[in-house]
């Protein structure tokens, strides 16, 4: 399905209307996706005998955010999540939160539909090149069972598949303490959803599996996530004003971390040949390849008219010692007053260091250097911070919302992930829209 992207070549003819449209939408970036979309979803010629009452079979829609953010410090860079290469400092930047998404929907039959979605945002490559976030077919086998195949948003946590649709939630961005550590947006694979009424509510179960196709920037290098198998599932129960969801998901790494971690592993391996087998063991413990990371979470939403409260707790466990296991949680509460919905949020994330010993004596200076490198690598993902968020959403006209938010991030001195900080205030303004 995705091989098409490589097969369909953009025409060199400058007057191609699809290309021109794409140019204006995505700042002269790859026209391939637009052509691909057009080819796949070009509406069929109107059938003469088509029943006039069928809902529209083809639909083009979109979402976007124009957002500005700044902090009170030039020492750290504030990013929205791990997929961003550069972060915000003291001067206003539109990079972190601005994005534009375009979605094509085509209903082939009552039970078969196709969706494709491309998003242009400031991503891992430090540019706005549009990415195909979704391209799937959904088949509703029965009212209880539907199957999707293709590329779709990851549901490692409740709401994680709509992180980019700012208009759909209250805050400027999803809580960074909680969602910021997730470097991936989509999975290439399939999912199965079973839905059934139960008691006064509706029970939904979903299982998904597939492979990642993304990468995460680490300083000037990348951690390649491509081909990492992903699998997971959730149980969701919605009744009255309540919604509950329990999720478990996992991914297996197929690639190693870039330098300096990869060079450290080499050094450990070399040292082991000098008669210190524990060093090779340590190199193995901080290796990422073929280790699994597991993500567990439980979330609840209470929604009663003007009042909405949502909360989530998560636990992340990594087999590899290079990543610290962590626990995170957040709660956001908002109350609508006319067109304004003020909200308050609190989030926290804390990880626990793992101990790995190289067995190399510090007395020998080159070994001491390796040991220091190892200690640094193990502390690399230590996080111990919390955030208070305060803001308001203004629904000033249909399909548009203006938001402002202040985040007070407070971290322990040893907290270095996603950014080293002890005290950072973040100011945000955003205009969210759908069309």
């Amino acid at each position: 399905m995705f091989a098409l992207e490589n097969v369909v070549q953009p025409t060199t003819n400058g007057s191609n209307p699809t290309r021109d449209l794409n140019k204006s939408l995505f700042r002269r970036k790859r026209p391939i996706i637009a052509i691909w979309l057009a080819a796949l979803f070009c509406p069929p010629p109107p059938a003469i005998a088509e029943p006039e009452l069928t809902p529209s079979r083809f639909e083009l829609s979109g979402f976007g955010t124009l957002g500005g953010v700044r902090t009170n410090s030039d020492d750290v860079e504030f990013t929205r999540d791990q997929s961003q290469h550069e972060g915000a400092k003291k001067s206003w930047t539109a990079k972190q939160d601005s994005l534009l998404g375009l979605q094509a929907y085509f209903k082939a039959t009552e039970s078969l539909e196709f969706v494709a979605q491309a998003v242009s945002r400031y991503g891992p490559n430090a540019n706005y090149r549009p990415e195909l976030m979704a391209a799937y077919a959904r088949f509703a086998a029965t009212p209880n069972l539907s199957i999707r195949a293709g590329r779709m948003g990851v549901e490692f946590y409740m709401l994680s598949d709509s992180r980019l649709v700012g208009y759909s939630y209250l805050t400027v961005r999803p809580p960074v303490d909680f969602f910021g550590t997730l470097p991936f947006q989509y999975v290439n694979g399939a999912d199965f959803t079973v839905t059934a009424p139960l008691g006064d509510g509706v029970l939904k179960g979903k299982a998904f599996f597939g492979k990642s196709g993304e990468k995460a920037p680490i300083q000037d290098e990348f951690l390649n996530l491509q081909g990492n198998p992903m699998a997971g599932g959730y149980l969701d129960y919605q009744s009255g004003n309540w919604q509950w969801r329990v999720t478990a998901a996992q991914t297996k790494f197929k690639h190693e971390l870039p330098p300096p971690v990869s060079t450290l592993r080499d050094s450990l391996d070399q040292a082991s040949q000098l008669g210190f087998p524990t060093a090779a063991e340590a190199a193995n413990q901080i290796s990422l390849t073929d280790t699994t990371s597991r993500f567990y979470s439980v979330g609840g939403v209470y929604d009663q008219g003007p009042l909405q409260i949502q909360a989530m707790l998560s636990e992340t466990r990594h087999e590899s010692s290079i990543y610290q296991n962590s626990r995170a949680g957040y709660v956001i509460a908002g109350y609508r007053l006319g067109q304004f919905t003020p909200f308050v949020g609190y989030s926290r994330n804390r990880s626990k260091a793992k101990s790995v010993s190289s067995g190399l004596p510090d007395a020998f200076p080159p070994f001491a250097q390796i040991n220091a490198g190892l200690a640094g690598a193990l502390a690399r993902t230590h996080i111990d911070q919390n955030t208070w968020s305060l803001g308001a959403r203004w629904d000033f006209r249909r399909d548009m919302a203006l938001k402002t938010q202040i985040d007070l991030i407070r971290g322990e001195p040893d907290s270095v992930f996603l950014y080293p900080l002890s005290n950072l205030n973040v100011f945000s303004l955003a205009l969210d829209f759908v069309f």
Binding site: P51, E52, L53, P55, S61, F63, G101, Q103, Y105, V115, Q117, A134, Y136, R138, P143, R148, M152, G153, L159, D161, S162, L164, V165, Y167, S168, Y169, T195, P197, D200, V202, Q238, G240, Q304, G305, P306, R336, Q339, D395, R398, D399, A401, V434
Partner: protein
């Protein structure tokens, strides 16, 4: 009576945008195979959580025109939500591959045609325009909020 008047006065005071509550009812085609729906069932069908009528027919909810007072009032009465809340709700589902929003009828005629042609169609309208082509399955006036 006095109670109702007080209720209306309070309502007008806290909610100046809507001058009068229309008497909305939820209707289906007479071929739907159902006589009544509960408030929960109406919520599930219109919010896309579970779209099957108790008779087993797939439910197809029909919204009144976008920006119509009827549509705004329906969701205020059903889930106590403003039109923008409902738009935000659907934005999340539509862009993450969840349920699709109800079909939007552009006029009363179109709404009636949909109700007549689809046994699973569910719509809402003022009681005064209900005729023999549709069947009332839920009344806000007869149900506690």
């Amino acid at each position: 009576m006095g109670k109702n008047r007080l209720f209306l006065a309070v309502l007008l005071a806290i909610w100046p945008a809507a001058a009068v509550w229309a008497d909305l009812v939820v209707v289906t085609s007479p071929k739907s195979g159902i006589e009544r729906m509960t408030r929960e069932e109406v919520v599930y069908v219109f919010m896309g959580r579970w779209r099957q009528l108790p008779s087993g027919i797939p439910a197809q909810p029909i919204d009144s025109p976008l920006d119509s007072a009827e549509r705004a009032q329906f969701y205020r009465q059903l889930v106590n939500k403003e039109p923008s809340d409902i738009r935000a709700y659907w934005a999340r589902l539509v862009f993450s591959g969840g349920a699709r929003p109800p079909v939007s009828a552009q006029s009363r005629e179109e709404q009636m045609r949909l109700l007549a042609s689809q046994p699973g169609a569910v719509a809402y309208m003022e009681r005064s325009v209900v005729d023999s082509r549709v069947r009332i399955v839920f009344e806000f006036s007869a149900s506690a909020p």
